[in-house]
């Protein structure tokens, strides 16, 4: 009986969390697109030399036999 009560409570709590968490039915970014000023700052990029960066990526591609998956394009403004 007691266990049953706990199960009911637990599922209810889960249901509530689920409802409130997914109520918007879409995953929203924690940092809003208009708040990406700091993320889009050039200082946030690992390398500021795109051509050298491309070469390093190419070398790593060959060495690790893992082509592609080098992240996405764009400047962090959520527009691509």
């Amino acid at each position: 009986m007691l266990v049953n009560k706990y199960i009911v409570k637990g599922t209810l709590l889960l249901a509530l969390i689920n409802l409130t968490g997914c109520a918007s039915l879409s995953i929203e970014p924690w940092v809003k697109p208009y708040e990406r000023q700091n993320l889009a700052d050039p200082i946030m990029s690992a390398s500021r030399h795109p051509i050298a960066n491309m070469h390093v990526a190419h070398v790593l591609d060959g060495r690790e036999a893992a082509r592609g998956a080098e992240g996405t394009e764009g400047g962090g403004c959520g527009c691509n």
């Binding site: 209810l12 409130t20 809003k32 208009y34 000023q37 889009a40 403004c77 959520g78």
Partner: protein, 167 residues
Amino acid sequence: MLLIKFWRRSLSAVFVFFISMNVHGVTIGQPAPDFTLKNMQGNNLNLTEQRGNIILINFWASWCGPCRKEMPVLQELEDKYKDLGVQVWGINVEQENQAGRDFLANLELSFSIFFDETNKLSETYKVEAMPTTVIVDRDGIVRYVYRGFKDGYGKKYAKAIKKLIRE
């Protein structure tokens, strides 16, 4: 009994959440949320006072590449359709906007630029992408929302504006 009470409470909480979500943000066909901001020329402009004009609201930032590309396109639209009751409002969303001001100094823009440092307006308009462009018709109703900017969007804006002018 307690369970039912709890359910009711949680359900009503979810309801309130949904309703609160619908209050904010822009929906096509709904009135555009009102705001007043001072533009770079120093005039206070209020959106509801612009009834009778078609307003293109563009949320931009200097760190956003496509926004930078878009600015001359917006200026062209302003020049072309200004006499037909169309205004372009550029809203800068940067918290620290010196970079934005520097960017503007290199351009010759005549349309109204606003600074939304607190991001309150971006929040009410639920800016989901940078740039976001909202076109408001003569009755203050949101008619078009564009997220992002790609080549050819200028033509899309012009088409939308022309359609609204003819109404």
